[in-house]
């Protein structure tokens, strides 16, 4: 089932240039994608690509100029109240709360706004503060303006979780966080997805996205330029794998057969007497590489002492896609 359905969304901004000149900025240009229920879907793209605009449209904070966006089956323009009831949002972790109120008070206020009863809002606030670790930091009673960035990000996550929403829209939830806080937020996202919640997350940390995302949509200059599971994107881009093999036996024959099967782009051999370390760059799927190596090994008198295949990272894929160059590596 589709949790988010975005069809042909367009959005333009008018940005001021000086006193009288205005410039039209095309934030989103016919963006189409969808998000399956219970998955973590990442929205990637360079700064100014339109990620935050997309999240704001889905959160009903911004109206699209054209197109349809549906969240859990509800139109974000015509049925905004229904959408608001069912989502949790994190936008700009550095601010967004009353600075003179404590984290606890901010969340109770938000809960009441969302229609929770006073007693349930207070109880639920304690639960989510506990969940994100702010209770343990003894921070829930302190004024928001005394919070560190990490604490603010945790509070933003707590707010998004307060009403137990079916869908979470998270715009760079780990931006500027220390390693430990970022890991906590990541872990939380994975746990929430396991519970069946759907998460649409944006970010620039590819390592992080690669760890958690089930599917990825890459947008650039307001257009979707790639869409799929991380592995699918890697396969589609066809980036080169780096294979490091430590072997003993007839290396030259082995390499010639392997070369015919996989097509080696670049090769380096380090000779250590009887054993040789071969570093080869191959443009093939990981599964095909492993299969070919073992097939050849079986048919020849060769011993593999060590094998490592380093596949391209999501960052490599992202850079290749955004630059429009699949052979970047």
């Amino acid at each position: 089932m589709k949790c988010i359905d975005v069809i042909d969304i367009k959005k333009k901004y008018i940005a001021k240039e000086g006193l009288r000149k205005n410039k039209v900025v095309e934030a989103l240009n016919s963006v189409t994608f969808n998000v399956d229920k219970g998955t973590i879907h990442a929205l990637l793209g360079p700064n100014g690509a339109g990620k935050t605009t997309m999240i704001k449209i889905l959160a009903t904070l911004l109206l699209p100029d054209e197109g349809i966006a549906k969240v859990l089956g509800f139109d974000v323009v015509k049925e905004a109240d229904e959408v608001r009831r069912r989502i949790g949002v994190v936008l700009d972790v550095a601010k967004g709360f009353y600075s003179s109120l404590s984290g606890y008070e901010n969340l109770v206020f938000y809960g009441l706004l969302k229609g929770l009863s006073f007693s349930y809002a207070r109880r639920r606030t304690r639960e989510v503060l506990e969940l994100v670790g702010l209770e343990a930091m003894d921070a829930s009673k302190r004024s928001y303006h005394t919070y560190s960035l990490g604490m603010r990000a945790r509070l933003a996550m707590a707010k998004a979780l307060l009403t137990e929403p079916e869908l979470l829209l998270l715009d760079e939830p780990t931006l500027g966080l220390d390693v430990e806080s970022a890991r906590t937020v990541r872990k939380l996202m994975v746990e929430l997805a396991k519970e069946g919640r759907t998460i649409l997350v944006t970010g620039h940390n590819m390592f992080e996205i690669e760890q958690i995302a089930d599917r990825i949509t890459i947008i650039d200059k307001g257009r979707v330029i790639a869409n799929g599971a991380p592995q699918e994107l890697k396969d589609r881009v066809g980036l080169i794998h780096k294979i490091t093999l430590s072997i003993s036996g007839d290396t030259s024959k082995f390499l010639s057969v392997i070369g015919d099967k996989l097509g080696i782009e670049k090769l380096r051999i380090n000779d250590f007497g009887e054993n040789k370390v071969v570093i080869a760059y191959v443009k093939a799927k990981r599964g095909d590489i492993v299969q070919s190596i073992f097939d050849v090994m079986k048919s020849m008198d060769i011993k593999i002492l060590d094998l490592s295949i380093v596949e391209p990272t999501l960052e490599d894929v992202y850079i290749a896609i955004v630059r429009g160059d699949s052979n970047d590596l």
Binding site: L61, D81, R84, R85, I87, L113
Partner: protein, 276 residues
């Protein structure tokens, strides 16, 4: 989300803020009180107190005693603190919510701008009137015992009604400042508006002596009529003369409300178009 849940949320937030800023409220109660009593009794530094009382009675055209004038001065101080708080809070809070602390985004994740602004314009002045005049029953009781409490009983509803009208009036200024024009220091507007409204309302000076420019600014707000009702009620008792200013306040309330309903609806759509 329902009006009830939004009103409950605003109540909760403002009570929490009141507790946090209690010391600032003490200042807000004290300064207008000192200023108001000082303004009435400043001539007492040159003449006898009896002479001041007699002069004031002549200006008003009603025979008053010292206690009556102190009661009047203290009640006037409540209008001052109420006006300062409502105008300042309505204009600056909305601006801060949108442009400085960004908490308006949190609000709009839960409800639409129109509902929030209207609830805020109606319920917040009530809270702020209570918060800004909390000292009033105590002060009036200390000055005139039961008579003081009776004065409070008929002054307070008037403060509430004019407070709501003032809240709606201030929202008409707060919305353009926050959403339609680029201003970095809205508190300057609030700080200029407050003395103009108070001075132009004839709080301490007879209205005929006030320059036309200031009078014109003040007459767009409910304050001059509120002051007039208060003056009549406190100094001459219930009198048919209060009918005209009461009618004007009621009409003003309806006009502010109607404009705000239209304006908030327009702003809701506009803010979703440009982004909060």
């Amino acid at each position: 989300m329902t009006f009830r849940s939004i009103i409950l949320a605003i109540l909760y937030r403002d009570i929490a803020l009141f507790r946090r800023w209690f010391s600032e409220y003490v200042v807000l109660w004290t300064l207008p009180l000192v200023f108001s009593i000082g303004a009435f009794f400043l001539p007492a530094t040159l003449f006898e107190v009896e002479a001041v009382v007699s002069r004031f009675s002549n200006i008003i055209g009603v025979e008053l005693d010292l206690v009556d004038i102190i009661l009047y001065a203290v009640t006037i101080s409540a209008i001052m603190s109420m006006t300062l708080l409502i105008v300042d809070e309505t204009i600056n809070t909305l601006y801060q919510e949108r442009k400085l602390v960004g908490s308006l985004q949190m609000v709009l994740e839960a409800t639409n701008l129109r509902t929030y602004l209207l609830c805020q314009a109606l319920i917040r002045p009530v809270i702020l009137v209570i918060a800004s005049t909390m000292y009033l029953p105590i002060a009036l009781f200390l000055i005139a015992k039961v008579k003081g409490l009776i004065v409070f009983a008929y002054v307070f509803p008037l403060l509430l009604i004019s407070g709501v009208a003032l809240g709606l009036y201030s929202l008409l200024i707060a919305i353009p400042i926050t959403f339609y024009v680029e201003i970095d220091r809205p508190w300057i507007i609030a700080s200029l508006l407050m003395p103009a409204l108070l001075a132009g309302s004839g709080i301490h000076i007879p209205i005929r002596l006030i320059p036309l420019g200031i009078k014109l600014i003040a007459y767009t707000s409910p304050l001059p009529y509120e002051c007039e009702i208060l003056r009549i009620m406190l100094l001459r008792g219930l009198n048919p003369d209060i009918l005209l200013p009461t009618t004007v306040i009621t009409i003003a309330l309806a006009v502010y409300m109607s404009i705000n309903v239209w304006f908030t609806m327009k702003t809701d759509r506009y803010s979703r178009k440009i982004g909060v």
